[in-house]
Amino acid sequence: MLILEKRPSPSRFWQGATPVLAVALTMIAGGVMFAILGKNPFEAIRTIFWDPVFGEFAWYFRGQLLVKAGPLILIAVGLSLGFRAGIWNIGAEGQYIMGAIFGAAVGLAFYPASGWFIFPLMVLAGGFGGWLWAMIPAILRTKFRTNEILVSLLLVYVAQSILSSMALGALRNPEGGGFPGSRNLSQYPAAANPEIIAGSGMHWGVVAAFIAVIAAYVLLQRHILGFHIRLAGQAPRAARFAGVSPDRLVVLCMGISGALAGLAGLFEVSGPAGQISIDFASGYGFTAIIVAFLGRLNPLGILLAGLLMALTYVGGDNASTNLGLPSASIQAFQGMLLFFLLAVDLLSNYRIKFLLKERA
């Protein structure tokens, strides 16, 4: 029979190998599913994983991978700091929305003026909006011991309602013929967040994501705060003896993740999305939670995980159009990837043993 034996410490080999194994297993299981749907599984897998990066139109899709991965990485890096310390900010989606609203409001307030200072002000406002929204669960937790998981999650729905009301009211385009939605910021040069190099997909949000990855890496490896974060997650009692204030850590981690989510929202609303609209929120804040864990809460891992997630979205859409695959099958495929990642994760903490005899 098979038994699982806990490893004394997680296996470094399997920690690196499980994501690769999971992708391979997903390709096999997904291929079987596509075959059952009557499509050529090799063509489907190639369309999802190969074509966006190396195919005929890769010059366009590589950029789109960055556009899709940028906000995921930016948010996930922020979340990973809190997650490492056992602080669960589940409401990044709400902070993302509020960052977009704050930033867009500043930009729209200046319309149609021009000036180099407008976009930097919007960036500050975006980060502030996300930070502010994250401070609500942070302060409620430190003052009243509420559960930050619930409060931050429920505030997402509040943010969505505010978003609808902004798109219909205060931020509505006065020249929009009564239709909901703000002016298109990407068509307002002083507030736009365009591609820095044409066709590269590289906008300021992607740059910010790369900077965040590097900063988080340095913070965790070299800075005392990074040490406190790791300590609080691995040994809360020891952390307290070492003089780490749990409340201060909550405020810091929630604040950083909120501000980064807010920045992601600002860069999205002034760039790829272009406007505040009722359905501006596209779930990046929730998907980023998956990306954070996929990347094992490690900044470099998150970078790769964000790009992989983006690949399944971009490639999945291509497969859906080009091969006529139902979009539900693409979602199932993405689900398989997460399932296998979590399943094979077992191997890094446990060892599988074959027992020939029943134990007495």
């Binding site: 010059w59 009301s165 013929g177 909901p180 365009p194 999305a273 359905d279 859906s320 006529g324």
Partner: protein, 360 residues
Amino acid sequence: MFRRTLLGTAAVALGLSLAGAAFAQDKLKVGFIYVGPVGDGGWTYQHDQGRLAVEAEFGDKVETVFQENVPEGADAERVLTQMALGGADIIFTTSFGYMDQTNAVAAKFPDVKFEHATGFKREHPNVSTYDARFYEGRAVMGTIAGHMTKSGKIGYIGSFPIPEVIQGINSSFIHAKKINPDVTISVVWAYTWFDPAKEADAAKALIEQGVDVILQHTDSTAPLAEAAKTPGVIGFGQASDMTEYKPSPRVSAIIDNWAPYYIKRVGALLDGTYEQSAAWEGIAGGEVEIGEITDAVPAEVKAAAEKMRDDIAAGTYHPFTGPINKQDGSVWLADGVVAQDGELAGMNFYVEGITGDIPQ
């Protein structure tokens, strides 16, 4: 900087789209972008029926591709670009929220024709718009509702407070009130085109308020399923016939029939007579059909509804004919005056007698 990036991208895209067109000479490639799944049984299902009708009509001369569940945001631009790169000659974007994306992608692919449903922006010569006069169908539904309600309370599940939906609410109410002067209408905003759970909640809330006729401007069958649980509550099929709820609660339906328009436009492109246009057809043009009125409705009510339908089709009656006052009591249309299309296209007010505010 922005202009330069745009031109750079356009130049690359132009080169490729020309190459793509040369390849696809033998078959016309027709693309469709859907906001919901093709199996939604409503809006998207009907557009997909139109796509199948194009295939049936032109056979080997056309090839169709589609992408379902495309969010109305940055993703739509990528999916549109991908279709155009893939050699599509004409692309139908079948939801209001694709408006800016359709125009943005059209600028980069001047040789591809774009057709945007229910929008009003035609910023480039290769963008056309098309819509249907759903408010004509609402006049028929309102007539039935006015006859059938016993509680005098009609419920309306609105999707988004945009002119198209407000036209429907006003038209339903005006015609119900003509039959029953005491009738009131309650509007619940779902802020979605397709979300069975939200739609069911909205229907449940309306029924609990004593509503016994439910109209919906959302695309799923969930409100009818909810109505079926309470005897005496009726509703109408929306976008498609929704026959599985016959004879009651579904007593009739507004059916969107896009096939004639799609066949006309694709045919024009095939024989070289294609021109930019802004189409807005109704019952007379066959784009809005009234689904079979079942025997759950008394014969005289059925006759009244059918007369309304036939009068509109014949052009002898316009659903917005004065005297009609606005909600605040001011005169909108004097006696005998008919609303102009321009006024309807930007409608952002309720008519007199409707309580509540349009979300601002």
